[in-house]
């Protein structure tokens, strides 16, 4: 009988399971001792903070040294060539997604401390929140398919409950119900796919499946692929599952939106990657690449146009998050090392900037009680910090250099165009164009938000708004700084995080070897080649020099002869110019912007408007149709 060696816990081998357990333990402890606010916050903070620390400690052995950590629960190692025990396997890809999860969860929890303080049922909120976090982390670390399904169930139900958490908000219950129905269709698909695979291969261990499936083949396996694929698509809200996300985000509290958009969708993407690159190893097929790239491009374009038509801050952000997920899927679907690394880079950036944007939306909601673009305006004077942070987030998502969105989108353009030139297929060039145009459309819709929430005129209802508490600002600032840092040092980020994770996709044998100590030949992924030139740090230095010198010239030459209104009453001189009419509130509302664009696309928009009926039956039907199409496609081409 061995006694427990405490030091043994410090072995990195145990970190993944400890990380997952910390979340669930936190959830459990909050149920027990969460009545007291301070105790509750401490537990949540410790659980999320420690997890993040543990995962950061894993960066060295896994991402830098290229190791893989297999872990058999209860030391039940496989016997007779079959894995009966529950396994975890953490390779570069898993850890990469794990890091995203832990970061987003940590920041969201920091934000929740003050954001949720006025809600009742706070302990329940934290419990569910940590369950959700644990579910996602468990899913990305899981080494077998059935546990992936279990974790997907945990996270789906936690997310549904959290969506309806503020059930007094109009539409919260409806959104949760829609999410529940379509989410369950997705989960059922995953379960059905798992069953089919088990029936065919008699194993559920991912590494073993990855070894067996390409060697077995057959109709059952193909159908299982389609089922699993659609199942994970619902988790990532890829078109045609996007309307759910919009409803869910609109109703959920901001930190939960951060989780749904930044973390939950990533779990779907992770599932798709695991499925197509590792389990089925189908990504070398042109048809499969086409399928992913097509889905991704459609998602990014349809959702960005949907976002342009929204007039609710959070719904708009929700559509954007699918649009960005479309970028990720497109890039990964190119099945080149550059594409995969760019896609993962974008996935990371999306977690950061979309988290930031949802938190600023939450701050606006917290202060004004609404997220309707038509009712807001002029908050930049009342909430300067939030405005600045929002602008950073908006610049990041719209791909304005030097923020992180640009760094990754730019790699995606290159990857797709390189692929186009390499294969001589002009279709991939169209993907590049689609991505570039989508990026500008994203900018357009964020200009709309900027104008109608933070600038423009201040309506009477918003006059009591003030800056949010420092706790919320701290959480947002962390993300904003990360946005800037990951944008300024793209090479370091690629080298440290995304290239190891991206290369792992092309080396499934390493994954199998890591788990089974087998010796399948490993193929090194081709090196990443970028043809483009972009050096953000130098650009920023130049910009700063130019800006500084211009400011010096400006100040030296009496640019500072600035007159502004003194006192409460607005003198005539400083009032707005209104072409002769009396000054009155005449904000150009969010819905009216970009008329010139919408006019030309009116048929498209009215078609889309009719399509998004908001009826859950329709959305379920879409899910079933999508499943049928996926099955037919898979059966024909795989």
């Amino acid at each position: 009988m061995k006694y427990i060696d405490l030091l043994n816990f410090l072995n990195p081998v145990h970190f993944p399971i400890i990380a997952i357990m910390l979340y669930f333990l936190g959830a459990f402890l909050i149920v027990l001792f969460g009545r007291n606010r301070i105790v509750r916050n401490c537990i949540a903070f410790l659980a999320t903070g420690l997890t993040l620390t543990l995962l950061i400690l894993l960066v060295k052995p896994i991402l830098i040294d290229g190791g893989i950590i297999p872990y058999w629960m209860g030391n039940r190692v496989p016997a007779g060539g079959y894995a009966i025990g529950i396994a975890l396997e953490v390779d570069a890809l898993s850890l990469f997604f794990g890091l995203l999860v832990a970061t987003a969860v940590f920041v969201a929890i920091l934000y929740s401390f003050s954001y949720m303080s006025e809600d009742d049922n706070e302990p329940q909120y934290y419990t569910l929140f940590l369950m959700l976090a644990g579910g996602v982390l468990g899913m990305v670390f899981s080494g077998d398919l059935f546990n992936m399904f279990i974790m997907v169930e945990i996270l789906t139900f936690a997310a549904v409950a959290l969506t309806a958490f503020r059930n007094r908000v109009t539409g919260a219950l409806e959104a949760a119900f829609k999410y529940l129905v379509v989410g369950c269709i997705g989960s059922t698909c995953i379960l059905a796919g798992t069953i089919l695979l088990y029936q065919q291969t008699h194993t559920l261990n991912l590494a073993q499946l990855a070894y067996v499936i390409p060697r077995v083949g057959g109709t059952n396996v193909t159908v299982a692929f389609a089922l699993l694929f659609i199942g994970f698509c619902t988790k990532a809200f890829i078109v045609p599952f996007h309307p759910l996300a919009a409803d869910a985000h609109g109703a959920a509290p901001a930190p939960v939106s951060v989780m749904i958009s930044g973390v939950l969708t990533k779990s779907g993407i992770y599932g798709i990657i695991r499925l197509s690159f590792f389990l089925f190893q189908t990504m070398n097929l042109g048809t499969m690449q086409f399928w992913l790239v097509f889905l991704g491009s459609v998602s990014m374009f349809v959702c960005v146009t949907m976002a342009l038509a929204q007039h609710d801050f959070k719904r708009l952000l929700a559509f954007h998050s699918i649009s960005q997920i479309g970028y990720v899927l497109t890039a990964v679907g190119l099945a080149t090392t550059l594409g995969a690394s760019a896609g993962l880079y974008h996935a990371m950036n999306h977690t950061l900037f979309k988290g930031l944007l949802f938190l600023t939306a939450g701050a606006v909601l917290h202060e004004t009680g609404t997220t309707d673009l038509g009712k807001l305006g002029g908050l930049s004077k009342k909430m300067p910090w939030t405005t600045a942070l929002f602008l950073i987030g908006a610049a990041s998502i719209s791909g304005i250099p030097p923020f992180n969105g640009f760094a990754s989108k730019w790699l995606i353009y290159q990857a797709s165009y390189e692929k186009a030139v390499e294969t001589g297929n002009i279709g991939f060039a169209l993907v590049t164009i689609c991505a570039l145009v989508t990026s500008t459309l994203t900018l357009a819709s964020f200009v709309k938000v900027t104008q109608s929430v933070f600038f423009g005129q201040l309506p009477k209802e918003c006059e009591n708004a003030k800056e949010v508490s420092w706790g919320m600002r701290l959480a947002m600032s962390i993300l904003a700084i990360l946005c800037l840092v990951t944008g300024l040092f793209p090479n370091a980020v690629q080298k440290l995080l995304t290239i190891p994770a991206g290369s792992a996709l092309f080396n499934p044998n390493a994954y199998i070897n890591g788990m089974w100590q087998s010796h399948l030949p490993e193929t090194a992924a081709p090196a990443v080649q970028t043809v483009g030139v972009w050096n953000p740090t130098n650009w920023l230095i130049l910009l700063m020099i130019a800006l500084l010198s211009i400011c010096i010239v400006a100040i030296a030459s009496k640019y500072d002869a600035v007159r502004e209104n003194k006192g409460e009453k607005v003198a005539l001189k400083y009032s707005l110019f209104y072409g002769g009419e009396e000054t009155e509130f005449s904000q150009v509302g969010g819905g009216d912007l970009f008329w010139g664009f919408k006019q030309n696309w009116r048929h498209y928009f009215s078609f889309m408007h009719n399509l998004h009926s908001g009826i859950v039956n329709d959305y379920s039907l879409w899910a079933v149709v999508a499943l049928a199409l996926a099955m037919v496609y898979a059966l024909i081409v795989l």
């Binding site: 060039a429 570039l436 145009v437 972009w534 650009w539 009032s575 707005l576 110019f577």
Partner: protein, 343 residues
């Protein structure tokens, strides 16, 4: 010591040539030439060529009124940010074969496309920060114009990247230096049959991107009181006018470098013919190259901006969008297809 000298050298690049001072002078000069040309085309005498300078300095001498509803920091910083971004952008565009590698290796054409958004965003933010409803309408139109120009520009740049990339490893090339280098040895890209529609498309994009006359719905002074600039007065307004001039310079020189980059190849041999050698020869050739570039910019302005200004009436915003996404993008797409299949 060397480091300090180097730093001073780069500072001189940023501040004097091809940076701030050069942009200031040639941008405003280009603006003045444009105004004069339009006037002459309309059978007017027209303002003196130095008129934009007078305008700029006059505006510097006026007071700057910050409207009570405005966000002061954003209101005052937006023009400066736009100016800085444009000046830095100009550094990345080589002057024929004379480039400063430390700068031209910072960003390629696709990045330049994105950096061009920063001035547009800065004017949008500045306008939005005033809270004026005219600015609201103006920024919406400005954004749609940017959106309209983006698609043809992307198509043009992709076609150029494909043509030039044929002689480099990887099959695509977006580096400005390499594009010009390619033209030095293969002749200007305008002589490449497949790229002629792209060149025309780019020429048509220039007035849209700079917000010049038929496409200036965003700043229509007669209907929406200059849109985003409605509340600007004094020096910040002057800086925005300056930005407009520099943007004209940037777009025209980008056009020249993309499609006429080969024209500078004779300069060095010409200078050698006269008998100059060493540093003097280099200085003279750079000077000649700059003059040639400016001359070409003036020609492009005359054809692409002034002529169009003089013969057309302002378009409505949805017409601008439609025009760019059908006619101009069609031309550019034609070019991409031609280039793709080896023409």
């Amino acid at each position: 010591m060397d480091m300090i000298l180097n730093a001073l050298k780069y500072l001189a690049y940023v501040l004097i040539f091809p940076g701030f001072l050069f942009c200031f002078l040639s941008g405003l000069l280009l603006c003045g030439i444009d105004r004069k040309l339009v006037a002459r085309m309309q059978k007017r005498v027209g303002p003196p060529i130095l008129q934009p300078f007078y305008d700029f300095f006059k505006l510097c001498g006026k007071e700057t009124i910050v409207p009570a509803a405005a966000n002061k920091f954003m209101f005052l910083m937006a023009p400066l940010l736009g100016l800085a971004a444009l000046v830095v952008l100009q550094l990345f565009i080589p002057v024929f074969q004379f480039n400063i590698p430390a700068f031209t290796e910072v960003a390629d054409v696709i990045v330049i496309l994105y950096l061009l958004l920063i001035p547009a965003v800065s004017i949008i933010l500045g306008g939005a920060s005033t809270g004026s409803p005219y600015a609201g309408v103006g920024l919406s139109r400005e954004m749609v114009t940017v959106l309209a120009c983006e698609l043809p520009l992307v198509l043009v740049l992709l076609s150029v990247g494909k043509v030039v990339g044929a002689s480099y490893q990887g099959g695509i090339c977006f580096s400005m230096t390499k594009i010009v280098e390619y033209q030095m040895s293969h002749g200007s890209l305008i002589t490449h049959a497949g790229l002629i529609p792209a060149a025309i498309a780019f020429l048509l994009v220039i007035p849209g991107e700079t917000g010049n006359h038929p496409f200036d719905a965003a700043e229509a002074e007669t209907e929406i009181c200059e849109g985003m600039l409605a509340e600007y007065s004094g020096a910040p307004l002057g800086v925005f006018k300056l930005n407009h001039g520099i943007k004209m310079l940037t777009m025209t020189s980008l056009f020249v470098m993309l499609f006429f980059g080969g024209l500078g190849s004779g300069i060095e041999s010409l200078v050698a013919l006269v008998g100059l050698t060493g540093t003097a020869a280099h200085m003279v050739s750079v000077l000649l190259a700059v003059l040639l570039l400016f001359l070409l910019c003036v020609i492009v302005t005359a054809v692409g901006i002034s002529l169009v200004h003089a013969v057309t009436a302002r378009l409505k915003i949805e017409q601008i969008f439609k025009y760019y996404w059908t006619v101009v993008s069609g031309l550019a797409l034609l070019s991409l297809v031609l280039v793709w299949y080896g023409l």
